[in-house]
């Protein structure tokens, strides 16, 4: 009796061929993207999406063409933060035309596809029972389509804003083998740094992805009256030594930054002299410098 390897094909389904076609589609689209960068934190609530939105704006202000993938399929926020929530996606045989901010940054996000504010991401299924067995796969397929089927055009930078946790990064690496590196976001709290360390290990040691650097978000608070810097977190935790070696910048907490995110306005343009704006521009410069040096 013939063995598995002796049978010529999988009875005609050509599953490997179908998967290869999906991979080729991603690679073809990314051929016109110079650098792809993942933004991750491991922990939620550290301002990762806010940083992504502002990093994208900073890179765009520096004359780059920038695209952003909101890879947080279930908790998409970037369309609102980048002021394009009401955008209608264009659709052509060549791909889906992304939302474009007033600055020219391109964005694709699940939020642009959902019917209502309170509509969760709900996939077609005979039953939602046992959805844990397939839901994550569905999300990765969605992410693949976001990357492959969006008409990005030529980009200098494509930023991928990952959801909290470490599980999505391996998926991204499979989709984007030439990932330029990872920007890790943390806040000055022991809890955050404990979790973020795991993300760094996953990226650096498990997946061999370059760590572009760490951004310390909400690092301190600048008094709007006297300009004095105060720690925002009670202990004023010092950044972990391992993180200090690759720090890209410390972004102070600024209520106006949060408000800009809510309003979808451009903080960097409105408050160019604010300490947070300067820190964000510095982060963008260091990201550029890192990727310029990388092969």
């Amino acid at each position: 009796m013939k063995s598995y390897k002796e049978l010529p094909s999988d009875a005609g389904s050509n599953i490997i061929g179908q998967v290869t076609a999906q991979v080729n589609r991603v690679q073809k689209r990314l051929a016109s993207v110079k650098h792809t960068v993942a933004i991750m934190s491991g922990k939620g609530g550290v301002g990762k999406s806010s940083l992504t939105a502002n990093l994208a704006a900073a890179l765009t202000l520096k004359g780059n063409t920038v695209g952003v993938v909101d890879a947080d399929i279930n908790g998409p926020t970037l369309a609102k933060m980048m002021g394009v929530r009401n955008a209608t996606l264009g659709y052509t045989p060549a791909g889906v035309k992304p939302a474009v901010t007033a600055l020219g940054t391109k964005l694709i996000s699940m939020d642009l596809l959902l019917a209502e504010d309170d509509a969760p991401v709900l996939w077609n299924a005979h039953t939602q029972k046992d959805a844990f067995t397939w839901r994550s796969t569905m999300e990765v397929s969605a992410l693949r389509e976001f990357i492959a089927d969006t008409e990005w055009g030529s980009l200098d930078y494509l930023l991928l804003d990952l959801p909290p946790g470490t599980e999505r990064l391996p998926n991204v690496v499979e989709l984007v083998p030439d990932l330029g590196g990872v920007v890790v976001v943390t806040i000055p709290s022991e809890v955050s740094q404990l979790i973020v360390k795991k993300s760094v290990t996953m990226a650096k040691d498990v997946l061999n992805i370059p760590i572009i650097g760490v951004v310390e978000n909400m690092a301190f608070y600048v008094c709007q009256h006297c300009g004095e810097e105060e720690p925002l977190f009670s202990a004023g935790e010092a950044l972990d030594t391992a993180f200090q070696q690759v720090i890209l910048g410390s972004v102070p907490f600024d209520p106006r930054l949060a408000r800009s995110g809510d309003d979808g306005t451009l903080y960097l343009d409105e408050y160019p002299d604010a300490p947070a704006s300067k820190a964000l521009m510095q982060v963008a410069e260091k990201v550029q410098a890192f990727l310029k040096k990388s092969p």
Binding site: Q18, A94, T133
Partner: protein
Amino acid sequence: MKFLCTDCDTAMKFKDVTRPEQGSVTALFECPDCFTEIAMFLNPSETQMLKSLDLKLGGNNEAAQPMQMVRSQLETAKTEAMPNEFSAEVSSGGTAEGGKCPFTSVISDAFQEEPERVEPTGPVWSAEALERLERIPAFVRPMAKMGIESFAKDNRYDEITGEVMDAARGNFPTQF
């Protein structure tokens, strides 16, 4: 996955696939030598996994359409998310049939459920209950409807009324 006709020692070929019934797909394979057929049943989870991967049993000779998986499988998508630009082109070709995505019927045809069989003995909906059903958010309505009907059958109700809905309410996270 490969299949062997043990009588002929020949690789079996894909023959046909049915649309899901109760979430389960059936694929038929045939021996090219003796024409023996076998049926492979995918349970709902396996069927769903195949959908999630956007893969098709029996191969896929159609050109991939932009975001075809998301557009055909996202239940909670807004209808205007993908506007008319391409729909118009497709319509002129005579293949689009409207709906939220001009390719939905093509893309996911193999995964669309067979129309539900009408069971004459099943519970019927009263006008009041149907009105209440319409007030349930659209994106959870199909699930709620299925759950209420299942509850009514299990409890031997012939008609789904407001009282039956109230009784079933405790079984669902969505209020109606």
